[in-house]
């Protein structure tokens, strides 16, 4: 025992040292797929989050503390996500970022609600950058959850408002992933199209397993046989890349109205076959920025290469809101920071934004854009390509995209 005790003392001293060093940083856990079919999407999100954090740290951090990103691989599984969340909480993490898969986000919201109720001294705030199931800011809303992407209904509202005036649309095919988000897209598309364009026929409504299909040729054959002139899909990641690849192989002559054609490997997969035929609804439109507003994008491209583009603007917005709320609250205590974020306004890159207090949904401008050949006038090309870009078709101001909420926010007393 005599021999051991100095060792133990040293251990304790070291532990205390590390603990104090750690508490000087603000740890933010990133829980998203970093392996498997959707890993490319998760890796890209991590890169943007780390880049946004670097920008904050370069300016001295917040309240004299640095942001530290803790990446945790959830393999796009709800079980893994809960384990990773617990691991993060045990490490002293109080802020969690996630976006890929509303299936995962729903589970995280539940787990965080429970944790915060049981451990008021270890509360956690969830910054959702891309999980867009409308329920999270309606019936299932939570004080601890903040969404920085427009939800699926807001996007479909914008998309269908544009489609309303496209007279060439006659037969529409809905192809979506078989989980909460895909179901929401299909439902919203059907409801809103029927209301805005009663003459349009919905010739197909298909759901396929999430991140499992390797060959979309059978689905494309079915779309072709239905005679659809338009496909609406909320597919993301490999599910969109492989879909457009199969559509290209089979020479499918239909327009694609998508949520995520701008991201992770999809523009290179589209190539010439997507020109003028693929539309996207998004909050990200770098070519609409005035000169002098692009320093963030330029710094990113300088760091990662000319064909790498940032497009997860919600990540940048999330950190903006978080750090400004911390500065305003004068603390990193999650409950106080969450209160400060409610109703906050920040001038975003594309216009004014507001974190709506009633449901914690960010209200921001939205764009519908078309994938086109770059005529040389666009400063920024579509991600991963040099010859293609997105042309703005229509812009919706923030208030025009806002939808009523059924949320009855329960705030901790």
């Amino acid at each position: 025992m005599i021999v051991r005790s100095p060792l133990r003392a040293a251990c304790c001293a070291l532990a205390v040292l590390f603990a104090s060093a750690a508490s000087a940083d603000i740890k933010i856990a990133y829980i998203d797929p970093l392996s498997g079919l959707m890993a490319a999407t998760g890796e890209h999100g991590l890169r943007e989050l780390e880049f946004a954090a670097e920008q904050v740290n370069a300016k001295g951090g917040v309240l004299g503390q640095k942001l530290v990103i803790v990446p945790l691989d959830n393999k796009l599984s709800t079980q893994e996500s809960q384990i990773q969340l617990q691991a993060a909480i045990d490490q002293g993490v109080r802020y969690v970022v996630q976006g890929n898969g509303s299936s995962v986000a729903g589970v995280l919201i539940d787990a965080i609600n429970k944790n915060n109720e049981r451990n008021p001294d270890k509360t956690v705030v969830f910054l959702n950058y891309a999980a867009v199931d409308p329920d999270f800011t309606n019936d299932k809303c939570s004080f601890w959850h903040f969404r920085f992407d427009a939800n699926s209904d807001m996007k479909m509202e914008a998309l269908t408002s544009y489609m309303k005036d496209q007279k060439n649309i006659q037969k529409v095919y809905l192809l979506n992933q078989d989980y909460s988000f895909g179901h929401q897209v299909a439902r919203a598309a059907r409801e809103m199209l029927t209301a805005k364009r009663p003459d349009v026929k919905i010739v197909g409504d298909e759901l396929h397993p999430l991140a499992k299909v390797k060959d979309f040729a059978p689905y494309v054959a079915k779309i072709q046989a239905s005679g659809a002139d338009t496909v609406i899909t909320g597919n993301w990641g490999s599910d969109l890349q492989l879909l457009v690849k199969a559509a290209k192989d089979a020479n499918l002559k239909a327009d694609f109205y998508t949520y995520y054609a701008g991201v992770v490997g999809t523009p290179p997969a589209l190539g010439d076959s997507g020109v003028d035929r693929v539309k996207v609804v998004t909050y990200w439109n770098p070519n609409s920025l005035a000169t002098g507003q692009t320093s963030y994008i330029d710094a990113y491209k300088k760091k990662f290469g000319a064909t790498s583009d940032p497009y997860t603007g919600s990540m940048h917005m999330a950190l903006d809101y978080l750090t400004q709320a911390m500065a305003r609250a004068g603390t990193t205590d999650p409950a106080k920071v969450a209160r400060a974020m409610e109703g906050m306004n920040i001038e975003g890159p594309f216009g004014p934004t507001e974190m709506r207090a009633s449901d914690h949904q960010l209200i921001q401008p939205l764009f519908v854009m078309t994938f086109v050949k770059n005529d040389g006038k666009s400063r920024y090309t579509a991600d991963g390509t040099g010859d293609y870009t997105f042309r703005q078709e229509i812009r919706f101001e923030g208030p025009a995209t806002a939808r009523p909420t059924s949320c009855k926010m329960q705030r901790p007393s």
């Binding site: 392996s35 890993a39 059978p218 054959a221 072709q224 492989l242 192989d249 020479n251």
Partner: protein, 295 residues
Amino acid sequence: MELVLTSLLNGVTYGLLLFMLSSGLTLIFSMMGVLNFAHASFYMLGAYFGYAISTKVGFYPALVVAPLAVGAIGAAVERHGLRRAHTSGHVSELLFTFGLAFVIAEAVRLVWGSTPVPYKVPASLDGPLFTLYESTFPTYKAFMMLVSVGMLAALYAGLTKTRVGLVIRAALTRPDMAEALGHDVPRVFMLVFGGGAALAGLAGVIGGNAFVTDPGMAESLGTIVFVVVVVGGLGSLTGAFVASLFIGIVQTFAVAMDYSWHGMSLSRVAPVLPYLIMVAMLIVRPRGLMGTRET
């Protein structure tokens, strides 16, 4: 009609790819009586080797070199691993291949990372081959069919017309007698194991760029291959061929057909259909379509 034809073509392409994978598995099973859990891992290795070699020297050399490399690894695994495990019984062999599958998956992850690699179809095979009604049929899919049919023909000729094939077939059914006649049966085993791995590797080289090359590809195809082997009948090449085509076509048509039952559409259950077929087959006819033995 258009949909039926296109779906048939898609189904046959997928079925032929499945056959390339399962032919090796079923041969290995019938010779050694061991279900090789690592078989789909050789498929994955083939895809990654194909990717690595094609970025250096081009796709066509990769088409030859990558399967040979995978076959060599397979032979080494048999010679230095499986043969030793064999002495302590079938369970050890099974556990050995089971562990090997994990080792290969982790090794691939370490070398190439956990995200999909950009393994592309070569430019000379990219593009449409012919137009069927309105849709085009990609050249690469035709190439895949050609390679699998060619492989089938070569395999059949090799097994029935050559002396090596004769010995293999003899060792398949009567290993003791073949050994008594002076043939080196362990070496035949090594050859078959390596050959089976090479076939899986070849499937990987042509399947990896048609679909996705990522560390999860072995897991996702591994189970389907077992379905093919069980449905076709353990140890039967013809059975595996029929079952591969059958499952490929069933999966494609399940998506293509608009049939729903109590709000549950057939296309949504398409991914579980092969497993349903396997379970039904095990209940009704445990030896499979063309299997010769009950186990």
